[in-house]
Amino acid sequence: MNWLSPQARAAIQRTMLPILVLLSAAVVVLGKADQLLFDSMRTAVTDAVAPILDAFSRPLAAAGSVIDNVQMLVNTYQENARLETENARLLQWQQTALNLSADNQKLRSLLKAVPENSVSYVTARVIANSGGAYVRTVLIDAGAEDRVARGQAAITGEGLVGRLTEVGNRAARVLLITDLNSRIPVTIENSHVNAVLAGDNSERPRLLYLPSPDAVKIGDRVVTSGEGGIFPPGLPVGVVSAIDAGGPRIEPYVELSQVGYLLVVDYGLSRSLPQPVPVTAKTSKRKAPAEDDAATR
């Protein structure tokens, strides 16, 4: 800006701050009114920064595993004793499972049941999380290049982590089940009662729309119900851990803040997820897609 006179430069300096403050405020309001407006910008920036975040998060993951190793070393004795008892118990379960599996196969052949959908997995590393108290998402280092798509489920060996909401070429964002915007159709395994698991940014999401408050009790297993066709039925989610005034809360099986790697699973169901459409009530000027189709025909 050296070609400008000092007065002009001073004038620009003076007006820049208020202009940018107003611009930021406008962006906040616009971004809220039309959530899709900045979506492509978001994926572009995420894609561009993903390699840097990837490089930064590697040593952190390594440090985390060093701490884990030390902890394991300290607890070896108790852990061994615990595992031996658990192993004895699991061996009994294995027998039971084998019997049941044989039974199941026989019964399935009687029913001519269709085999379950084949699934494909992509393993991804968590490269960033949402710093702050108001969103619960993580970024992973897999994107469209790895054939990851919006709506797919993110899981670990323990259970459901969340689902993919934004997918760039190299990175994707996972909306955790604890996020304020997360709603997942679930079933209480014992009672077969359906409910919706709603995140509220706390560590323990709530169960909504239960037919009666005593339909669940503490310790009940909660799994996905498969309703809505986004997740397959039966994915473990968590256990009912508390029942307070706001309804039951569940403790997710996955320790969400500790997830380093996760699996993105394509159950072949994500195609049923509708593409994002702007909120119709707020953007009534826009035509509904069906009207659009009719108009172009």
Binding site: V27, G31, F38, L60, G132, V135, T137, N201
Partner: protein
């Protein structure tokens, strides 16, 4: 909203380019480390506001080298990466700059406790404001405890951040 504009006093010229980009680079770095996944239970919600520390430090010592446009870009980048409502961190950083510039002369060449007290006030106001804005945007009340703990962590870590930034400033710019 007081948007009074305070002219930036003439500061000693920094002749090396590393020195000139240091404020922007460190603030951008702060934005990146605030989204890094640190595997501590509950950490994500309580992540200290690293960008606020850098913005405060540089607004006091070198406001000329961390211009509003850079703050806007860095705030926006942080929003896009963290998945938070877009523009909100940009707004936070710019308003903080505006507030700090007004009182800058009370902080320059003062002892650290003075600077820290100023940062404490700024953090309390900024994080309460952030909480209020999020409540309005989501039409609900967020748990206020997270905000309190986050503010406490941010204030507690500031001396370390300030020390490191000051060290970098002296090493690269030769002033500070």
């Amino acid at each position: 909203m007081a948007l009074k504009v305070f002219s930036i006093p003439a500061l000693p010229r920094v002749n090396n380019s590393a020195g000139r980009i240091l404020p922007v680079a460190t603030t951008l770095f702060a934005a990146l480390i605030s989204v890094l996944p640190i595997h501590i239970p509950g950490y994500a919600a309580l992540t200290p506001v690293f960008t606020l520390m850098a913005a405060y430090h540089w607004t006091i010592y070198r406001p000329d080298l961390l211009p509003p446009l850079a703050l806007f870009a860095i705030g926006l980048t942080e929003d896009l990466l963290a998945g938070s409502p877009i523009g909100i961190n940009a707004l936070l950083l710019l308003l903080s700059r505006s507030a700090v510039l007004g009182y800058r002369r009370y902080f320059v060449n003062r002892t650290f406790p003075f600077v820290w007290t100023g940062f404490t006030l700024l953090t309390v106001v900024a994080l309460f404001g952030l909480w209020a804005v999020h409540c309005i945007l989501d039409l609900g009340l967020f748990d206020f405890r997270n905000t309190v703990i986050r503010a406490a962590l941010t204030i507690a870590i500031f001396p370390l951040a300030s020390f490191l930034l000051g060290r970098a400033q002296r090493a690269v710019m030769g002033t500070g």
